[in-house]
């Protein structure tokens, strides 16, 4: 896929997102009011933040399955520590999650083990840790302190609350990092061609640790912020987060084999999915319609992508040997 094709691909996905938006906006006035959009943005914060982390590992040709469990552990940790203050506990929580992510990246990088395989272990194990830390119960902050985190969602700038503005900042920073820094491009490099990148002198461990630290930290950030805002954390929480985040990335055109995709794509995938899920729920349709619609949509994306790829391959096959000679 060359640059123009990539741009067209992104354009088609964006058009698709707009279509989903319009389909629901016709029915739901809150899709175009300031409050409604603000709520849509706030509702996208958790999945958006975590999706970037998952997306970064996918760009590196890896897959972090542990994000949901890690978000739950971090939520429990942060709520238990909230006595030291909201922001300090948030920072500690994110550092904790980043450390776990870095450790995973280190093990995966040093052993060269497939992360899909390794993180199934941490997916199960970290959930167990969350249960142990919380004594198998929800942990809460005192009710009179609930309003302490109100500032998270108080409108700040038009449709942006500090929370959604934070998400936008995360998106922008991640985008700039991936696009314009050596470390960011190394993540693409090890995803686009592991042995090639190694042969070119990229130290594989560094991008690997960075990618998993990002996904750990962002999963932790999502889990911590949401838990603080809700005033409690449950060890069983964030169960569906992994699938949502993965679906977001896939809808946004992040290739599972690594190296291809962009933060803009993740944003498009995120809102395509959020428009759909929020819309279905707001209409009062049963939950299974969400399943059907999201599953069906993803099937459509898979099939269309497949047909487009095959078409391109057929063309490439015809012109394969027609190189200037």
């Amino acid at each position: 896929m060359n640059r123009r094709e990539a741009a067209i691909d992104l354009g088609v996905r964006a058009a698709f997102m707009a279509l989903v938006y319009l389909a629901f906006a016709l029915q739901l006035p809150n899709y175009y009011t300031v409050h409604g959009i603000a709520a849509l943005l706030d509702g996208a914060v958790l999945i958006g933040t975590v999706s970037i982390g998952v997306g970064i590992t996918m760009l590196a040709g890896e897959f972090d399955l542990s994000v949901g469990s890690l978000a739950a552990v971090t939520g429990v940790v942060v709520i238990k520590m909230v006595g030291i203050g909201i922001i300090p506990s948030l920072i500690v929580g994110v550092l904790f999650a980043a450390a776990i992510g870095a450790l995973q990246g280190l093990i995966i990088g040093v052993l060269g083990i497939n992360s899909l395989v390794f993180t199934i272990g941490s997916l199960i194990g970290l959930r167990g840790v969350a249960l142990i830390l919380s004594h198998e119960n929800s942990v809460t902050i005192p009710i009179d302190q609930l309003s302490d985190t109100d500032f998270f969602t108080t409108p700040l700038l038009g449709v942006f609350s500090p929370l959604s503005a934070g998400m936008v900042i995360v998106f922008v920073v991640a985008g700039l990092f991936l696009r314009f820094t050596r470390w960011g491009r190394e993540i693409y490099a090890i995803g686009g061609g592991r042995t090639e990148a190694k042969a070119a002198g990229v130290p594989l461990l560094r991008p690997m640790i960075i990618a998993f630290t990002c996904s750990g930290a962002l999963a932790g950030l999502g889990g911590a912020v949401l838990s603080l805002r809700l005033g409690s954390a449950t060890p069983l929480g964030f169960d569906t987060l992994l699938l949502s985040a993965a679906t977001t990335c896939l809808m946004g055109g992040i290739a599972l084999e690594g190296g291809r995709g962009s933060v803009v794509g993740i944003a498009i995938g995120l809102f395509t999915l959020r428009f759909l899920v929020t819309g279905v729920a707001s209409l009062g349709a049963p939950y299974y319609v969400q399943n059907l619609a999201a599953g069906g949509l993803l099937i459509v994306v898979v099939v269309v992508q497949l047909l487009a790829t095959r078409h391109r391959q057929r063309r490439a096959r015809m012109t394969l040997a027609l190189q200037p000679g």
């Binding site: 640059r3 491009r185 490099a189 990148a197 042969a199 002198g201 190296g259 027609l322």
Partner: protein, 504 residues
Amino acid sequence: MQSDGAVLRMRGISKRYGSVTALQGVDFSLAAGEVMALLGENGAGKSTLVKILAGLERADAGTIEIGGVLRRLRSPSQSLHAGVAYVTQELSIVAPLSVAENICLGSDRHALWSRRRLDRVVRRHLDLVGLGDIDSATPAGDLSVAQQQLVEIARLLSRNARILILDEPTAALSDAEIEKVKAVVRTLAAEGRSIIYVTHRLGEVFEIADRVTIFRNGHSFAPMEVKSLDVDRLIEHLLGRRLEQMFPERGSISGPVVLALRDVTAPGLREPVSFDLHKGEILGLAGQLGSGAAAVVRAIAGVTPRLGGTIALHGRPLDARSVRNAIAAGIAYCSDDRKRDGIFAVRNLFENFTSPALPRITVGGVLSRGREVKLASDLAAFFEVARDRLGSHAGKLSGGNQQKVALGKWLGIEPSLLLVEEPTRGVDVGARAEIYRHMRGLANQGLAVVFVSSDNQEVLGLADTVATFFRGRLVRITAAEHLKPEELLRDVTHPEAVAAGGPA
């Protein structure tokens, strides 16, 4: 530091892979500003040595001194820091990244990579390798293989390394590009950098190398001045035998026509191609990369679609729209990349040998172990693969043995036509002779064989008939006996000079 000006001194380097000794106490040194060629059969240890130097492999024993300082080279980046840059045999281009990013990849000089800044950094190097007119922001995957190889060289230039390793850099390049690479090598040496040049092409040794180090069976021999050598002496050192022994005797061809192409066009061909191939005949298609030689066999094998003309097999029209069709018609095809699609590296030889002939070892959908063992051992015996290797993974064999498997498995389908691209790519000299002998043996037993090769010696030595290709056109078809090496070389490099001589 020694007074002889050695920038690199490796002492007592040993390396084992499992039970195989790749290097045994090898000493190696390199002087500043020299081009040192490394020669040796595959598996002789030269690639292992440069990989250790490049930080891709770790030596089991031995020391490495660079610029008089002892170094531990545990990773490519450590090697880079020590001033060693490496262009691999396999490409190290990351397809989704841009050309500029690929050049800067692995260097830690700039933390921020904006497009404009990178372009400024790499422009000079791109100009030097003749890629001055491409946009450095193009994804490298969009370039041709040769261009990618040049990008790698440009990367190497950007490294400012004192020691440059080029591991068979010209294997996939066309002549014009090879010239470019050689020119770059000479420029670099003139600048005072030392170059280790790993190659299989003896000609290149004489053209650019100052000294040559020969490897045999994991040992290295003392470097020799190239000026003091000629080709025969070099080959003698390399093999311990003479070139003539390499190619088997030709037989006489009198069989019926097996394959007939009439005005065939296919992707990669600019003009229609026609020829006949007889039973027991070996046809060599000679040509450099992009010449169209490979395009012909790919069209016959159903890998790429045939765009026009007719192909007849045993007088009946063949319409192979896929590889499966072609196989069903009795056509066996070996690509030029056996690791990619020739062998199953993680399966044993039984399974490899019988893979195209499953129907033959199956009774009612169930595999018969007896038949499988019989077929595989017969094939192994035919190709002289040691029987006790049959249980090991194909990936563990030497390049030569792998090639025997990739070729030999086809006999199970009882083919009437064998198509082979680059039959001895990545195969050491000793095993080459064996493969030539087997191919001739097959032809003698009545198989029609077409092979594609960019190795002119191979074409001249092995083929009965030679078809030369240049830039998508068939230049001419000649009996190999009547073809002089100089003519062949001209045909595949600049046939305009002999345009009057050929029918095409």
